[in-house]
Every structure is written in C-alpha cells, then in structure tokens.
C-alpha cells in the first residue's frame, strides 16, 4: 500500500513509519506544521521537523512538510479559546485528531493517491463484527485510544496504527536498534500550542480572553476568596483557588462565568449519579447495555449505561466531569463510542 506516515519528529511516529517501510509498504513521511505561535513544548519547532526529516532520510523515505497552520488555528486553537470563554474545558488533542489528522490530512492523502494515513498513536485498529474498532494500546500507561474515539468507519478504513501492539519501552528499543536519533527523546507533554514559560494555560487564555475575576463561594453561598481568571477554572480543580489552608480539600463543583462565581464543595459534592453529555457517537452500532466509561486521557473507567438521549447513568456515583471533556465508551479494550460532557 501507499501510506502517508504522519511524523512529528517524536519516537513513536518515527518507529511507526519504520515498521510500515519494513513491512514493504511504500511510505512517504509528512510533518504537519500546525502552530506558528509561541510554544516551549517543542511542538512544530524547526528542530522537530528536522528530527522527522533526518529519520526519514535514514529510513530512505521521502519527507514533506504540510503547513496546516490556518486550519489548526480555525479548528483547534480558536475553539479551544472560545470554549473556555463559555466555561467548557475542551480536549484540543481530540479536536486536532478529528479535524486535522483524520480529516484534513486524510482528505489530502487521498487526493495525493495514498491508500492510508499512519500515525504513532498508542492504540490498535482491529476489525470486529464486520467493522473497524479502536482497541487500547498494549501499554496501559501510554494508551491513546481515548483521543481516537471520534473516528468513524470511513476513517478507520483508511488508517494504520502500527505501534499500538508495542509498549513504549519496545518502541524505544526498536528506535535504538534502527539507530534513530530520537530514540531517547522525551514524550511530548500537555497542550502542544501552550508554552509553560508564559504562564501556561491560564496565561495563554488570559492573553486571548482577558482576565475576568470571580468570587469563590461555598455551597451555602459564603464568599471564601477570589480568583483572577474564571475562564481557567475547571470542575474538580482544587489548587489555585486562593483558599488558604482548609480543614479538608475543597473542589470546584460549579463554574458560572456569567455570574463570575466559582462554587467549591467537599469531595462528596463532586459525585453524581448521572452525567449529561452531548454529541454521542458510536464506532458502529449504538450500545444499549453496560459500558466502561473513561472521562480523561489516562483515567480509570467506571461502569455505566448510556442513555441515548444524552446522559450517562453511572452504576456507582462518579465525580462530575468538566463540561467539554470527552467521555469515552469502551467494551473491554474496544472503543465503542464517546460523547462530550455537558
């Protein structure tokens, strides 16, 4: 097959491209330039592109750079900022996968005559019940199936995830054995377009949204403190609330941006028997029975039934999920669907 391998310059996607070439596919490497702004995570830096290019050189692959900066800005960064403005906590990696890697890049790959797009995600792609499914990667600690829940059958039919059956250690071993220059390169961290040295997420959001202070109140309405930027406050958060020392930890249980009010409560106040969701989608057919539901990238799933009208009914009460976060449905290791917390 003719495969377009997305190569970030990191070790996972490098090994993914190498494995496909070893398997006899005609592989062309591509690095996406997504972000021209400030970043200290190494994302889209010239040195990352160089790493990718030098790995491609070593593997004997042609390598291209596609500038998807405008699309990334419109489909990932702007919605990320807009969502925070209305009190949501979005997952930009999922939006990037949805709109950039598995939409724009995939459409371009098809137009350029490729049969498939490959990435270095730690997840497996399998056929199950006549369709395709994403299965968790072998390495629990690195599993990225959560950020791939949005894939539809058409996309999965044109994708390859070559390293999902390897642990991270095995990936690094392969990279070292191949003599790849990035075999010991650190994993990328956090949101790729946000620079930690410039105040991190709060600094990034404040520069774009301004800072709206908010009052922090108790569940009975007692004023406790103030925070500088309400847009950066998330359900479940317990640090950075200027509460001083409290007897027991307080957690954000509600954020009302319009009213400029953050409500904090005890840990128990976070727990809820149901979770409202929007945008439910299924990998194939909707599932009516019990599913395992995971609400963060490396979280522990809990058992629930999905009410198709837009609600997750937990078997045992679970912590409230910050609105905007992905809620992903599994059966065993298989991703069967997902939604977004309301």
């Amino acid at each position: 097959m003719r495969v377009l391998a997305a190569m970030s310059g990191g070790v996972d996607s490098s090994v993914a491209a190498a494995m496909l070439a070893e398997q006899g596919h005609e592989v062309v490497g591509v690095t996406l330039k997504l972000w021209g702004g400030e970043s200290d995570t190494g994302c889209c830096s010239v040195s990352d592109v160089e790493d990718a290019r030098r790995v491609a050189d070593l593997l004997g692959l042609q390598h291209h750079v596609f500038n998807f900066g405008d699309a990334f800005d419109q489909r990932v960064v702007a919605p990320y900022v807009d969502d925070h403005a209305v009190g949501l906590t979005p997952n930009p990696c999922i939006e990037c996968n949805r709109h950039i890697k598995f939409d724009k890049l995939m459409v371009r790959a098809e137009a350029l005559g490729f049969d498939a797009v490959a990435t270095g995600h730690h997840a497996r792609l399998e056929t199950a019940g006549g369709g395709f499914r994403v299965r968790r990667g072998v390495d629990d600690a690195k599993d990225q199936s959560y950020v791939l829940y949005m894939l539809g059958q058409q996309q999965m039919a044109r994708m390859m995830l070559p390293i999902g059956h390897l642990t991270k250690a095995e990936v690094r071993e392969r990279a070292a054995a191949l003599g790849l220059r990035n075999s010991a390169k650190p994993d990328s961290q956090d949101v790729c377009f946000i620079a930690n040295r410039s105040g991190g997420r709060q600094g990034f959001l404040s520069r774009r949204l301004g800072e709206s202070p908010a009052t922090v109140v108790d569940t009975d309405g007692t004023e406790l403190s103030t925070v500088e930027a309400v847009q950066a406050v998330t359900i479940g958060q317990r640090r950075g609330l200027n509460l001083g020392g409290t007897d027991e930890p307080r957690y954000v249980t509600d954020v009302d941006i319009a009213a400029g009010r953050v409500t904090v409560g005890r840990r128990d106040d976070l727990y809820t028997p149901t979770q409202d969701v929007t945008g439910i989608q299924w990998a194939d057919n909707p599932v009516d029975g019990l599913v395992d539901v995971q609400v963060s990238a490396h979280g522990t799933p809990a058992v629930a039934v999905v009410d198709h009208s837009g609600r997750v009914d937990w078997e045992e009460p679970q912590r409230r999920v910050a609105p905007g976060q992905a809620v992903v449905f599994y059966q065993g290791d298989l991703v069967v669907g997902g939604a977004v917390a309301a």
């Binding site: 690095t31 330039k33 889209c44 010239v46 592109v49 290019r53 291209h64 750079v65 596609f66 500038n67 900066g69 405008d70 724009k104 459409v107 371009r108 790959a109 098809e110 137009a111 350029l112 005559g113």
Partner: protein, 380 residues
C-alpha cells in the same frame, strides 16, 4: 510514480551551475588555493582571479570595479545595505511590501516604513512619496519580484528618493532581475545593488553588492578588512570566479535567452490558462521578467499541487519556503490584496537558461490533471 526526466521549473529558487562556472572554479580548488591576501605568488595568482571577476561584475552591474563588494549572497547584500546603512547613520529605513524577507525583516526589525503595492504588484509611488522625508537614510526597492516577476519602476523610485529624501541612499535587490534585465542601465540610479550568483548559473553562497563611491555604510562583519573594509573574511575565491563566469554568460546570451524564454513562458501560461478554469495570472504579463510564470488556482492548496507535480516530474514552488520547509502564506500576494484562500493556491513556475520545450510540454501535460484531481477531492 516519480519519473526519470524532470522538468525543473524552479529557477527563481536556484539554477544549475553553468559549465563555464564549473570550468572557472576548477583551478581554484586544487591549484590556486592560496589565501588571496597572502604575499606569495600563488596568493597573487589567486587574487588576480578575484580582480578579474571584479571587473566582470562591475561591467555587469554598471559600476566601477572598486565599487564591487563580494558577499556571501543576496541575503547578505540586502542586510549590508539596510542594516549597514542604519548602523552607520541611523535614521529611518524604507522598503516596499513585496521585498524579499532579506530586506523586509531588517526594515521591520529596525522599525522602518513599509510602502504598499498596487493590485498587480508594483510599488505605489504616491505611497513611497509619503514615506520619504529628511529622516530617511536608506530606501530598498527590488528591481524584480521573486514571486510575481513584476519589474519595479526603479528610475522613478530613484527620482523620488533624490527629491524627497536627500539623506537617503537607494538600494535595489536585483537578485531576480539579473538573468533577465540590463541591471547596469535599469539600476543606474541606485547607490547600492545586490545580486546572488546561484540565481544566474553561478554557485551558491556568493554574491556581489555595488556600493557606489561615497556611500557611507558600516560593515556587518569585522575582521581582516577585505573588500574595502565592508566585508571581512577570506574571499570565496572559487565562488567569486564561478559567479563572474556565469555573469559573462548572462551578458553574452541574455538578449536571446529573454526572447526564447518569454516565448516558452507565454506558451506555458497561456496553455494553463486555457486548460484550467478558475486560474488567475498574478500581476501583468508585460511587466514581468521573461522567466516568470505565477498563477493562482481557485479551490486548491499549493502544497498538495506541488506534491502531485513532483510525483509527475515537475519541480516548482509556491510562495517562499519557511525554514521548516513548509509553505508559508505569501506576503507578496497579501500585499497585492489577494485573499488568503486564493493566495493559498499559488504556483510559481520559473524558467531558466536551461529550460527547454520539453519542460514546458511536461508541465502542460501534468498541471491541468493535477489541479482537476485536487478540486475533485475538495480542499485536502
């Protein structure tokens, strides 16, 4: 899918070394390898090569030999003119909005003034007049643009600078113009003229800048004081000899090459315009250098088009490439008022002295299908 034969239509990016340059450079690698500022005979013989080259470049650029400064290429020449002038006398820098980044970045870095262009990519002379006053110390306007190929009205620019900015010197980046235009006469009104060897059949990493007698300029590199103190560093003797040999070829053959290649260029552009609907030719054909074809295709993205063209053996480019190798949006088309979507579908096909009929045939056979394919898939 890559084919054996290649149609190389990216001569505005770089050109093959002409055989005359190859020959001229050869003795300087293994025979005349002395440092040309040395005291012995081999040094003097090497120096002679540089002085001969200086005579050639002076003739080519319309200057005295003593006004030629050998540089490391176009970017250095542009920086020497703008930054060197500002370092020496301070004041305000001015350039057009369509300059190469090697001029634009220094001017913006120095807080200078950027003059708009019109819809066909020619500097707005009224805008220039407004930007000029006694505080201006250097004005830089290119002779021909690297993306559109549009020739700028340099003599009118020079007149305005003389009358409105008495303290300014005029620099012209003639890098793209030299293969096509009589720079010596068209840039006669400029105080500083920069060219780059690899754009006209010479080697990479060498160029020349005319610094007319009396122009006050600070060097960017300090050291041994070569090139009238304006460019310290051991001479790139082989490169300089290669550049001069290539310049001689240009002087000898330019007139006939311009006629031949303008014909090929017209066949190429007219062929594409006739075969592909929704194609916009940038600028104005009659105002372009002969080797330049620049088009925008509605509804596609350049990167994808370049990929398909490469697959089919046609090498071209879009806007300028950034350091990562990605295609950046064109500041030239933006300055001409193109919307970002249309500018995003630009294609520059630049012909050179070695371009042949077969290259045009191949491009014409490939481009319409590639554009049609991309349009069928929507914006990939």
């Amino acid at each position: 899918m890559a084919s054996e034969a290649i149609a190389y239509l990216d001569n505005a990016a770089s050109t093959p070394l002409c055989s005359e340059a190859v020959e001229a450079m050869a003795p300087l690698h293994r025979e005349l390898y002395a440092n040309p500022t040395g005291a012995h005979r081999m040094a003097r013989d090497t120096r002679r090569q540089i002085d001969d080259a200086r005579d050639v470049m002076a003739e080519a650029l319309g200057s005295e030999p003593g006004e030629i400064v050998f540089t490391g290429g176009g970017t250095e020449g542009d920086n020497l003119a703008v930054v060197g002038r500002h370092m020496r006398v301070g004041g305000v820098t001015v350039c057009s909005a369509i300059e190469h980044h090697a001029v634009l970045e220094p001017v913006e870095h120095l807080g200078g003034r950027v003059v708009a262009v019109d819809a066909v990519g020619v500097i707005d002379l009224d805008g220039l007049a407004e930007a000029l006053d006694e505080s201006v110390t250097v004005v830089s306007v290119m002779l021909a643009n690297n993306e559109t190929g549009m020739v700028q009205p340099l003599s009118q620019v020079a007149e305005l600078v003389r009358s409105l900015a008495p303290n300014a010197v005029l620099h012209t980046d003639a890098v793209q113009a030299f293969p096509w235009l009589d720079v010596a006469s068209l840039a006669a009104g400029a105080d500083l003229i920069s060219v780059s060897a690899h754009k006209f059949g010479g080697p990479k990493g060498v160029g020349a800048t005319v610094v007319r007698d009396g122009v006050e300029l600070s060097p960017l590199l300090l050291g041994g004081g070569q090139e009238r103190g304006l460019r310290s560093g051991t001479h790139n003797a082989a490169g300089i000899a290669g550049m001069a040999a290539a310049a001689e070829v240009v002087l000898k053959t330019r007139a006939e090459q311009v006629v031949r290649l303008a014909g090929l260029r017209d066949r190429l552009v007219d062929g594409v315009l006739g075969a592909v609907e929704g194609t916009v030719e940038t600028g104005r054909r009659s105002g372009k250098v002969a080797g330049s074809a620049h088009l925008c295709f509605e509804g596609i993205e350049s990167e994808a088009l370049l990929f398909l063209l490469e697959d089919a053996g046609v090498y071209a480019s879009a806007a300028s490439s950034c350091s990562s190798g990605a295609q950046d949006p064109s500041h030239v088309l933006a300055a001409m008022g193109y919307d970002r979507m249309l500018a995003g579908g630009s294609l520059r096909l630049s012909l050179g002295y070695e371009t042949a009929d077969a290259d045009i045939d191949r491009a014409l056979a490939v481009i319409p299908d590639a554009v049609a394919r991309l349009r069928a898939y929507g914006k990939g």
